[in-house]
Amino acid sequence: MSQNVNPTHSRMSEQATSSPKNSEGVLQPSKDNHAVTKRLQKELMVLMMGAEKGISAFPEGDNLFKWVGTIHGPEGTVYGGQTYKLSMEFTNSYPYQAPVVKFVTKCYHPNVDITNGVICLDILKEKWSALYDVRTILISIQSLLGEPNNESPLNVAAAESWSNQEKFKEELLKHYNEV
């Protein structure tokens, strides 16, 4: 799968890799680029027009394919009052394939890799649908903070300490750096 393609190097990587998806000519980057840009612009408009509580996102610099999202920890959970930054990278095959979303701020969470910020969330992997957009992804991640899936943890230590919320919060604040 050519999911992690940098749009600027997409042509090169497409020539280099010969995955079945590419060989079918399904996702022509040069052809889709305009459509992707258009869709991302629409999403940006929606995000800026409707003030969604607790989440925000904006492209990083001039590159519309790389966004920075911000999530406020859901109130009433151990993450309440904290702010997390995420990086979102869109490929040329967006929205047919999910963007690569990672935590930039260190996040101590059962389903987040503490070292590189990789998120284990089904809608970013096999349950992805073209219907999802930046807003819904951020809302899903926000709700994931409060309701982790402890059965398939990426951070085993966090999953084990989740039952003891006070201890968990202590551990969490050790890793948390203010944005």
Binding site: E24, V26, R39, S129, A130
Partner: protein, 546 residues
Amino acid sequence: MSRECPWRSQCPEIVRCRQLQALYGPTLFLVRRPGPLSLILRASAVSKPIKVRLSGRHWCSCKTFTTENELCVHLCWALLRLFRLSPTNTLSYQLGMVEREITSILKTAVPLSGGPVSRAAILQQRLPTHSEISKILPDLDCKLPTVAPRPVTNQDCCPICLEPLLQKPFPVSHCRHSCGNHVHIRCLQIWAKCNITDASDGLSKTIKCPVCRGVFNYEADMQSEFRNAPRSRPRATLPPLPAAPPDCEQQETGLMALLDSLLASQHNQEVRNERSSSEGITNSSEAASSASTAGRIREIITPVAVSVLVRALPEWKIPPRHRLLAPGHQCCLCLSHYEAGETVSGLQCGHEFHADCLKPWLQRNSARSRGARCPIDHMDLTPWLTERLISRQRTASREPPPSKSPVPAGANDDLSLRSSRLTLINRLHVGLHPHPCGHLPTPPPSTCSSPPPPPAPSSSEASRPTSGGRKGRLAAQQSAAVLHMVSLHLPIEAQEAAAGGGLVGGRTKQMEPRRGRLSWNSREPALHLEIPCRKISLKAKCQKLN
């Protein structure tokens, strides 16, 4: 204990279909449960409530059950969804149950073979997927029930590209087996390539719906739908029109030529009026006023001219079992499928639309697209429509007696009419270039942008040398021809178009030319449209008489 209804060892096919419909079709709502076995269901908020009773002989108040006396969707829904019977359980398709069986499904809400199950386990029990059912029932060659497409409203947008659906004439497809939501076919084609389930379940491949994750459609059906959907590449073209000179620029359409000729004569008229009234007006102000009126005329005349032209659209009713009734064919303007008996218009490029959708669309978009164009591939339809209009007019004019003709009777008139039509045909075909073998003085072959040759001296008042020059005179002649043509249609059309506008009354009573400058009022376009028309046609008549 004897059964009220005979025991069935085989599930009838119709019941299997209804079971599938109950499992995967539109959900029903349990409104009330007056007793443990008597239920009141509803399909939607507006539909009639349906009473269902499970007993020794099941009963339902719906029409299907009362007429067929066979398990209906509601009973299947109650048995499968509410009492969680598996479709493989023999109890799920019996017409009635004995007391022991009823107690067991009430107690456990699972099949007789299973042990008692906790409430949590029941809640977690998921429905069998379509592929699982097809494994259990390999003989069942029954596709999923289809759902009706949701009506497309102005707010609806494609879930993949987020573009509003009704804004552009892109064909759509709807989730045929789950939610009925619409998606652009061009978006879906890419989506389908990434989201086809394997054919390992023995069934044909299916495509996942991007909205509801249900079965959007079977791949084979989908491909035929893709093939049938209107595309911007024309599939069938009518025999080409007589070719224009090869060096002629094709952008200048027949309609624009019509407008330009009107414009040129209007300019002449204005110049003459202004010179007669006041000599002190400078050339620059003339040019400015003519440019502004040019825009106005174009704005006003194009929709009216197109409203005349749409009369020539071919229309036909869809007969039963026509190819347009196959899935995929759709009117790209309202995004709905065709039904037998609907009136359809086919265009020169091979695209079809509802006649009721196409005509308003062409009129609405005429000013922007400079004439009548196909909504899908933007093919210019003006020459084709003009040709049809003229040929229709020609066949019609053979029949009626001369007294009923809107043109005043006279031998000269008849002749001039015929010649003017020919001129019109020529002119509309070659754009701004008069046809070399036409009735007009042949100019040297040149491009549209090249300056016209100096004007030839003329006895007519209309062709006073102006900035328009020979082109102006030529245009006046041609516009006379055009307006003969248009005047045959315009009184009726303009009456409709302007809703009480100026162009009423017989042409013979309007022979008096009006004095003074023309005033332009954008509120009543028809009134002002009529003024230059009449003047020019009058003028042209004088010219011909001279």
